[in-house]
């Protein structure tokens, strides 16, 4: 695949608005008028409100729960406990990664914030009042707060509910070739190692999670409005958990106020609200508070990583060794393909031609919130990208080779694609050197290095950080990827109406990505119907074809491919109708956007709108009437977006405060459907990368109390701190994707944390500092500076 510095020329005029047009978003019309329709905006007749009582401590036996007083409070309709759910076999539920999770605790609580009981009341304030009247007696158990504690011999057993579970191990898994890697290390001149913790973070979309469950006792029909990134999978899981017939369950995922992976899992609150609605016979709304969101729903990361990179003296990379221990909390409640227990973390060889690699991973249960969701990340690519980019930067210091130069020497070369990595990925296309060089030229790299030298002489600390990441996104294929056994394909149903207008129904679900705009552009590109004549629907399981949902940057790679393929199938059928109208043979027709004409006679033509009308009013003999169809796309491979980010920081040596002077981000996500939306996605990801590298983390005290349970303790950057970004692009299409697109929603979150941290480390590298764990707070930078100035060596 060739790489171009500029986007390909447009194949449709603006009036059609196909691929490549920065079409303004159609969904904005409702959002800017406050007419978005989120879960908490839904009000149904007779609706009740639910609030959840949560465990005040991390590990404790439940001795008793007394709900008498709460149940007697005027306005309270029901108090639900785990014992009540157990009578209906609903006290436990399966997770999306093959584990089980308590819905309401019956035996003991395993993390602070765990769901213990729920109150359903006529008024939300009354429901909250009643929580204070529930009397729970706990017998405290020893909390296990770190994976190191959890895996130590004799550690208290957290998951005593699981048959056969004798320790706190939740998985172990390896990838790559140990013998080949050992051999590579034996030949190495230099081995660089790094121990770093990718801290626990939380996606915290501004809309918290919630649902309105409406089970009709007369019909048995259950409609559940839910903050769901994967409504179809959730419907199937609901059918399995609740034992309801799947055709009677309708999940509606309305407008979603951000997801970032947080709205992939099924949460106990959804199940309790549904059970309560079933038992009471009225709709029940549950919307969590921010604190509940932060302390109990899907966190991300918490990977303790050890990496070793083997190189020759002149900077040739020979091998990579990685040991990783993940802290999964009390339940393995993420969504993970069955085959890959640590997700796609084994993409840790990154953008480099590494002949040998061996990755050993292990997960631990701890008395912390469950999850380990991939926060704006394709199944743990973020952690992998961070580790390799930090290692490479440190290797450059060790070898005395410029960090940019070391990367350029070791990149997988354009002619090596498709490239099979040492851990088994087949990279589809890439051109890493061109991208990095463009970013370096834009930032003025050589001059910056000179400035850095001059600044050091003046006692100023300037750092230049680079990250050249490669992602793997767009799961499946179906052979390797599943969620809870359901294969990872995705779907699109396209209905072209007689008047030439169309509805596209998708198995994916936007949480802000702009699908209503971009997916219409794909159809417009393929069929020549103006994008404004195409309505996109998603999120309602009764009204859309089955799909796996939106996360892991899979909407465009999979749902977008399904859309292009079904549009092409309809175009093939349209050609038969057009041939009939033009009284010509189909093979004698040529296609131009929106029109068929007889080859050599451009005046003998019919528009796609004429053809659509004829498909219903005048179909040819032997051709089925109508112009509608559905396609389920099983991708032949993942897609591999990549990019190079360069960050320039200056550190105040007195305070450790660091300040981003420049952030130059080059992204190559293949063909861009809507450049404006792509750039918006990159801005968002660069901000979240900055957040994780500088301030965002969920931490715990030694008793397992969550520190970071609100936005005053869990810091999210405001406009004041957030840097300004400069975006660049190259275009290397995916060779196997129908429109050459790769997915962009997560690239910047994956790639940028290492760039920011590398910049801070680069500012301190001459002092011997090689690591500061994220978040790189001023206090940690200051401590590192103190350590080197007091002569205690490397930070």
């Amino acid at each position: 695949m060739t790489t171009t510095a500029e986007p390909p020329s447009l194949s449709t005029p603006e009036s059609i608005g196909g691929i490549g047009h920065s079409r303004r978003r159609v969904e904005d019309d409702r959002f800017v008028q406050g007419a978005g329709h989120y879960v908490d905006d839904i009000v149904l007749p007779g609706m009740l409100y639910m609030a959840i009582l949560r465990a005040p401590m991390a590990h404790a036996k439940i001795v008793s729960i007394d709900t008498t007083e709460a149940a007697a409070l005027p306005g309270v309709v029901a108090v639900v406990t785990g014992d009540l759910l157990a009578q209906h076999k609903l006290a436990w539920m399966p997770t999306l990664s093959g584990d089980t999770e308590a819905v309401l605790a019956t035996d003991k609580v395993r993390f602070q914030g765990q769901e213990v009981a729920a109150v359903v009341a006529e008024d939300p304030y009354v429901a909250w009042d009643a929580l204070d009247l529930i009397d729970v007696t706990y017998e405290q158990l020893t909390p296990v707060v770190t994976p190191q504690q959890a895996l130590a011999p004799g550690a208290p057993l957290i998951r005593d509910d699981k048959e056969g579970q004798t320790d706190n191990r939740c998985y172990s898994w390896e990838s790559g070739d140990k013998a080949a890697t050992d051999a590579a290390f034996a030949q190495a001149d230099v081995v660089v190692s790094l121990d770093t913790h990718y801290p626990r973070s939380h996606p915290s979309p501004l809309e918290t999670c919630g649902c309105v469950a409406d089970v009709n006792p007369a019909t048995g029909q259950a409609t559940i409005y839910m903050t769901s990134q994967a409504p179809h999978v959730h419907r199937t899981l609901f059918a399995i958990v609740a034992g309801l017939p799947e055709q009677n369950i309708r999940i509606v995922s309305p407008d979603i106020g951000g997801g970032f992976g947080n709205k992939v899992p099924i949460y106990p609150g959804y199940v309790v609200a549904t059970a309560a609605s079933l038992l009471i016979g009225r709709p029940v709304k549950w919307v969590e508070t921010r604190t509940e969101n932060l302390i109990s729903t899907g966190f991300a990361r918490d990977y303790h990583m050890h990496g070793e990179l083997a190189l020759t003296r002149d900077g040739k990379m020979l091998g990579l060794r990685v040991n990783m221990v993940s802290d999964n909390g009390a339940f393995m409640a993420d969504a993970q393909p069955t085959k890959f227990r640590a997700g796609l973390f084994h993409i840790v060889t990154g953008s480099y031609d590494l002949p040998a690699a061996h990755v050993v991973t292990e997960g631990a249960y701890t008395n912390k919130a469950p999850g380990g969701v991939a926060y704006r990340c394709s199944f743990r690519v973020t952690e992998a990208s961070y580790l390799i980019e930090r290692l490479v930067q440190n290797a450059a210091y060790e070898l005395g080779i410029d960090p940019a130069e070391l990367r350029l020497r070791n990149f997988i070369k354009p002619e090596q694609f498709p490239y099979t990595s040492a851990t088994g990925f087949v990279y589809d296309s890439g051109n890493y050197g061109v991208g990095l060089q463009k970013a370096l030229d834009t930032v003025g790299y050589d001059e910056l290095r000179n400035e850095q030298q001059r600044a050091r002489a003046d006692g100023r600390l300037i750092g230049i950080g680079i990250a050249s990441f490669t992602e793997v996104v767009g799961a499946g294929n179906h052979k390797d990827f599943d969620i809870a056994g359901i294969k990872m394909f995705d779907s699109a149903e396209l209905r072209v109406h007689p008047t030439g207008k169309a509805i596209l129904k998708l198995g994916v679900k936007s949480q802000g990505q702009g699908h209503e705009t971009t997916f219409a552009q794909i159809v417009a590109n393929e069929l020549g119907i103006p994008a404004g004549d195409i309505t996109v629907q998603e999120g309602d399981t009764d009204n859309t074809p089955y799909g796996l949902g939106t996360y892991a940057s899979r909407s465009t790679p999979v749902g977008g491919a399904a859309t292009a393929v079904i549009a092409r199938k309809l175009r093939d059928k349209a050609k038969l109708v057009a041939a009939h109208l033009l009284e010509a043979a189909p093979e004698d027709l040529d296609w131009e956007p929106g029109r068929f004409h007889v080859r050599g006679a451009p005046d003998r033509s019919v528009t796609i709108q004429d053809v659509a009308f004829a498909a219903y009013t005048n179909p040819p003999e032997g051709v089925e009437a109508g112009l509608e169809g559905v396609h389920y796309y099983d991708p032949p491979n993942m897609t591999y977006p990549f990019g190079s980010y360069v960050v320039v920081v200056e550190i105040d040596p007195q305070t450790g405060q660091w300040h981003v002077r420049r952030m130059v981000a080059l992204d190559d996500c293949g063909v861009r459907i809507n450049p404006m939306i792509v750039e918006g996605q990159i801005h968002g990801g660069l901000t979240e990368g900055y957040a994780m590298s500088s301030m965002q983390f969920i931490t715990f005290d030694e008793d397992g109390n969550c520190i970071g349970s609100n936005f005053m303790d869990y810091l999210i950057p405001t406009a004041w701190e957030t840097p300004r970004f400069e975006l660049l692009e190259t275009v290397t299409p995916s060779p196997h994707h129908p429109i050459g697109a790769k997915g962009i929603g997560e690239s910047a979150t994956v790639g940028s944390p290492a760039a920011y941290v590398n910049a801070v480390i680069d500012a301190l590298a001459h002092l011997g500092v090689r690591n500061i764990d994220m978040p790189v707070t001023p206090a940690r930078v200051w401590a590192a500076l103190q350590a080197v100035s007091s002569g205690s060596g490397r930070g």
Binding site: G34, D40, R290, R661, E721
Partner: protein, 174 residues
């Protein structure tokens, strides 16, 4: 307790419990769901409304405190039956993605332009710094508000905005 509040120009008289938050009053009692709830601790700002023209976080105001006062929510931003310049700016400059913070951001932007018709990048960054956004990284929100400033200035026959383009590689002073 009986209160009388002017919301988007219309007077509403209701009997509310003293503990009811202004957010809940607007959302549940008046059905104005364009005002959102994001953190209930005055941190995220998605509940922002204008109280007598000044942005306040309505999760930290009791409904009774609004008695006798005037409130503007996102539902009241339209002017003369058309989208306001700020509303159009957010669409034009792609200043929103999931839309959850958008009503609050637009209200803060509207209030800013009332007191400063020609805000610099830093002016806008400071004005919206009480409002979190998880999707956009703020740059396009700043552009959206500056786009609206230009629209308003053009409508009033004032010269083009002095503010430099955000697309220029210029170092941030924030």
């Amino acid at each position: 307790m009986q209160i009388s509040v002017t919301v988007n120009g219309a007077v509403h008289t209701n009997d509310v419990e003293p503990r009811v938050l202004l957010t809940d009053y607007l959302r549940r009692i008046l059905g104005l769901t364009g005002t959102h709830m994001g953190c209930d601790t005055t941190s995220c700002g998605v509940c922002t409304v204008l109280l007598d023209g000044t942005p306040v976080k309505s999760c930290t105001v009791f409904a009774v405190q609004a008695n006798g006062r005037s409130i503007t929510t996102v539902e009241g931003l339209r002017q003369d039956g058309a989208l306001s310049a700020v509303q159009r700016g957010f669409k034009q400059e792609h200043g929103l993605q999931c839309g959850f913070c958008t009503p609050a951001m637009m209200l803060v932007g509207t209030a800013l332009l009332e007191r400063n018709p020609d805000p610099s990048e830093d002016d806008v960054r400071w004005a919206i710094s009480g409002n979190l956004c998880r999707c956009t990284g703020y740059m396009n929100i700043i552009k959206a508000i500056q786009w609206a400033a230009n629209e308003r200035r053009t409508a009033e026959g004032l010269p083009e905005q002095r503010t430099v383009s955000l697309d220029q590689p210029q170092e941030v002073t924030a």
